[in-house]
């Protein structure tokens, strides 16, 4: 994983609540044994019609979505399945963060493990972001804060361990492996 400390980008907005993982990446695209290449099927059923043609009014098919690295979505983003293909698809497409007022547990955990930043903000900030699609904002990992174009900043919760891993590009497995003596001891004591 590459270390990340700031994400500077325009936003793109999907204002719907409860965007589930079957929308982010439908199950039929999970018949893959690799991680790469899922971006082309991100939001597939909203992006393409039955002939595979782009749906004109879906936001990812508009110019405003080009190069946007931050997705702003409605409440309870990423609910449903545990498929890590969801953050993989978002990352492969080019997104690096999602902002919502609530993010589902497993999706959140999967995201952090891939350097995809789940950001939960208050209603007021969220409302502003929804109304101002395309705003240039900054997500600062070190101070765990979101900085709006006018310089106002608001902090978002980021667990210290995840923050450390993101800032240093560290894979959590390393931490587990470093504690293998404790794992051995646990196994011995419980057997």
């Amino acid at each position: 994983m590459e270390p990340i400390n700031k994400i500077n980008s325009r936003t793109v907005v999907i204002p719907l609540d409860d965007v589930d993982t079957d929308q982010i990446i439908p199950a039929r695209y999970l018949r893959t044994t690799v991680r790469a290449g899922l971006g082309k099927n991100l939001f597939a059923d909203w992006r393409y019609d039955k002939n595979g043609t782009e749906v004109a009014d879906f936001v990812l098919n508009n110019d405003e979505a080009n190069d946007a690295e931050i997705l702003v979505a409605g409440r309870n983003f990423g609910c449903g399945s545990s498929r890590e293909h969801a953050p993989w698809a978002l990352l492969d497409y080019g997104f690096r963060a999602v902002i919502s007022t609530e993010i589902a547990d497993i999706f959140r955990s999967n995201s952090l493990k891939n350097g995809f930043l789940p950001v939960v903000v208050d209603e007021q900030t969220h409302e502003w972001l929804i109304k101002n699609s395309g705003a240039e904002i900054t997500l600062d990992i070190e101070s765990s804060s979101l900085i709006l174009p006018d310089g106002r900043s608001t902090s978002f919760p980021l667990e210290s361990f995840s923050q450390y891993c993101l800032l240093n590009g560290i894979d959590e497995l390393g931490f587990l492996m470093d504690n293998s003596a404790a794992i051995d001891a646990y196994e011995e004591q419980t057997n």
């Binding site: 039929r28 044994t33 959590e172 492996m177 293998s180 646990y186």
Partner: protein
Amino acid sequence: MSGRSLFDKIWEQHVVLPENSNTPAILYIDLHLVHEVTSPQAFDLLRSNGISVRRPDLTLATMDHSTPTVPVSTLKDLKIVAEPEAYNQIVQMEKNCEEFGLELRGLGNSERGIVHVIAPELGATQPGKTIVCGDSHTSTHGALGALAFGIGTTEVYHVLATQCLLQRKPKTFAINLEGHLQSGVTAKDIILGIIGKIGIDGGTGHAIEYRGDAVKQLSIEERMTICNMAIEGGARTGMFAPDDSTYEYLHGRPHAPQDEAWDIALKDWKMLPSDDDAQFDKEVTLNVSKLRPMATFGTNPGMVIPIDGAIPSPSSSDQGFSKALDYMQLEAGQPLAGSPVDVVFIGSCTNSRLSDLRAAASVLNGRKVAEGVRTLIVPGSAQIKREAEAEGLPEIFKAAGAEWREPGCSMCLAMNGDFVPEGKLAVSTSNRNFEGRQGKGARTILASPLTAAASAINGVVSDPRTFIS
């Protein structure tokens, strides 16, 4: 100090290193369930980092999601019936298990089935265990008093490598079930009722314990249905304290402790139920006596009403609600019952166990499925298939005009050749009615096996109580 809950006790027993402000806890995992869809990338990581599987003996592997439900016992058969991607995924699973020394319940294996169906069936799911799987419906195993939750593929890799996970302790949520179920109302209706009440994010960040007087009446299979959909209420896990029904269910199963080991285990298990003065972070009570059969009308499991109710109206600001009704081609204010049905699916890890099949058979027996309704009945495992056959259930299904298939996830998620065609309306006993879940453009109504069978007979969404004498 207040007492400890079932969740607290299991958690504490599995802490290898406690959490602190800098790092999450290291939690030991007693049983890791692996299937073909969420594991290939984890095996790749093991391979590329030269790591082996720490505890193959605590790992149980099967194939269920992308396997076809037509008879296939060899890879040669598979090549003919499966799409190439599904075929590759299955072949890869066989290779991975062989390379890493895991026993795989593969095609043709007499113990194969949906991962959440076979582990309890084998007795591998036990009270007090920590159980994980790269699948959100792992919560099912909580029915036996286990702490079970879904994980992502990176975590699958962590567990394969270390048998441990890094976890922050969730909050606890008591759902009290009171009263007695009326006839025609089932465990599926209880969980749909709960989700309707708490919302699809009501359990986010929490571990649910289902408690209360009504629990005693629920069989283990019914508890599995209720735990299965904890995730549909946003909670990663749902659990019931073990009791005599649990012990009776487990006794004699091949992976359950035997003889003296059984007596020792039983003593431990009896210590697990929450202390009387245990505190929960959140609490809700549902009186099940008032429940009617429930059915969903929208595109998430929280959009649910009693089967004889009217579809509610959206508030003007709720874009999602109107979008959902458009997608479902249903109208606010109209009854849901009576909507014409194209497909009925009875199966999935929510409702594919023997008691579910018997419930469906009780409605289908001596009757015919309405013309034009494709009715698919898919047992959750090879063992359930054998048990159903021994009871003559397939004859009832076939005489009614339904299809009796091989075990697997089938139409629950439309990646194995079974799907609901675009625009068609399905009544399904599975757990997700998301847009496209059962196939691109498919419209799903979630309900119990009784309601699904009644709808198959009438060809329209139907109240099962009219079929119950």
